[in-house]
């Protein structure tokens, strides 16, 4: 009866998503969830997840605890007063699952709309150059988030006057990206730790790391890490060499 959990972990957005998957896979009744079975399957998954260091592992562990609590409450003998209504310990979980499902479907609808809009590109006019009497400004384009980020950026530089005294090293992200590209042309894999020892200063290392993140974003490289705090393994990405 117990089918092995052979599923791609990236498929799930969180514990609720996994539960919905298990319910669907085993054709369970969401209104009458067999809590023992689902707890067992869920825990089997969390075991797997532990090894793989999911980003949201904490949320999965929390759900596992919730499931076990529900299971325990269902095993307890029910002693209720006559007029007291006994609530099924699973009700809250069911409501959460249904509520999440509503938004998951709405997200699916948004995805469809996104696909429909993809082929259209909005007109992007060249920036307007105001005449002298028109140097007015309003906020229509500015978000509160921009104000936060701007202040954070300014104040970081301001409150750290020591940073101005450091000798400026001649190092740029594009240079370091170029260096990584050269390495990857001859090597299939690079360990990030091997880079650490090559650079004499933290600044160069930090810039290299930023360059690496940028390359990751543009898919020029792939980065693998088997466990949190483990070494990073860098390899060529889909878009390697296209920029």
């Amino acid at each position: 009866m117990n089918r092995p959990l052979r599923v791609d972990l990236d498929m799930f957005e969180g514990p609720l998503d996994l539960l919905l998957f298990l319910i669907k896979r085993d054709e369970l009744n969401i209104y009458d969830i067999p809590i023992s079975k689902i707890t067992r399957d869920f825990l089997a998954f969390v075991e797997l997840a532990k090894e793989l260091q999911l980003h949201s592992a904490g949320d999965f562990v929390l759900m596992a605890a919730t499931l076990m609590k529900i299971k325990a409450r269902m095993l307890l003998p029910i002693e209720a007063e006559h007029d007291e209504e006994i609530e099924d310990p699973r009700t809250e979980l069911m409501n959460m699952l249904l509520e999440y499902k509503r938004y998951k479907e709405a997200a699916h609808a948004l995805e469809g709309m996104e696909r429909q809009e993809r082929p259209h590109y909005y007109r992007l006019p060249p920036p307007w150059v105001p005449g002298e009497e028109e140097t007015t400004a309003i906020l229509e384009d500015v978000k509160l988030y921009d104000i936060m980020l701007t202040f954070q950026y300014l104040i970081k530089n301001y409150e750290d006057p020591a940073s101005h005294m450091v000798d400026i090293e001649e190092v740029s992200m594009s240079e370091q990206a170029g260096y990584l590209m050269t390495l990857l042309q001859t090597q299939d894999k690079i360990q990030f730790s091997s880079l650490i020892h090559q650079f004499e200063s933290r600044l160069v290392l930090v810039v290299t790391f930023l360059a690496l993140l940028d390359m990751l974003r543009s898919r020029q490289v792939r980065i693998k890490q088997s466990q949190l705090f483990d070494d990073l393994l860098i390899s060529r990405g889909k878009e390697f060499g296209t920029h």
Binding site: E13, G14, P15, L16, D17, K24, E27, N29, I30, Y31, S56, G58, D59, M63, M96, L98, E99, Y100, K101, R102, Y103, K104, E105, A106, A107, H108, A109, L110, E111, M113, E114, Q116, E117, R118, P119, H120, Y121, Y122, R123, L124, P125, W128, E140, K143, L144, Y145, M148, S218, E239, T242
Partner: protein
């Protein structure tokens, strides 16, 4: 003013405007009220017909409460070359779920989003703020005074919506239940 002239003005405005052209903004640009012999909608319709007839590569879209020029879908394969190798970046499932929750429940706090998704949503909120699809809108009245989030004009543009009212209706829980029962049979 004649329709022909009004059409040209609207065309110029659509060309120059970085945001959707609304009726209000159009009136502000016209200054002389007496010249406004037709409403924006009528002018747009006629202009749209011209574009269709002359086989232009662009069309007019009603979006975020106004009108904006967009390229026709047929040219996607060429236009996407302007931006990156892959064209527009698609939103992740996590970001879409977060957006779905905000769009139907706004304004909403991070806690509410996470309570529904059952998972930490910091990074998707951040991605959505960076892409200007979400914005911060004041604070909750509750004890924590948490930041409130809502969708932006860019959100409407991104999904081609005139207003959030045009979002498909959220399914009722009862509908979901009955669908599930049917699947069981």
């Amino acid at each position: 003013m004649e329709l022909t002239d009004l059409k040209k003005i609207v065309e110029a405005l659509l060309m120059a405007s970085p945001i959707p052209l609304t009726e209000t903004r159009f009136k502000m640009c016209m200054k002389d009220e007496a010249e406004l012999t037709l409403g924006l909608e009528e002018i747009i319709e006629s202009l749209q017909a011209d574009y269709d007839d002359s086989g232009r590569a662009f069309t007019i879209k009603k979006v975020a409460g106004g009108y904006q020029l967009v390229t026709r879908a047929d040219f996607e394969i060429y236009v996407k070359g302007l931006f990156t190798k892959t064209g527009k970046l698609r939103l992740s499932q996590a970001a879409l779920e977060t957006l779905a929750i905000v769009s139907y429940r706004q304004p909403v706090t991070r806690n509410e989003i996470e309570a529904i998704r059952g998972v930490n949503s910091d990074s998707s909120i951040r991605t959505l703020l960076d892409r200007k699809l979400l914005e911060i809108r004041g604070r909750d009245d509750g004890p924590g005074r948490a930041l409130l989030y809502r969708t932006s004009t860019e959100f409407l543009q991104y999904f081609g919506l005139d207003s959030v009212k045009d979002l498909p209706k959220l399914k009722e829980v009862e509908d979901l239940l009955s669908e599930d029962q049917q699947e069981l049979v």
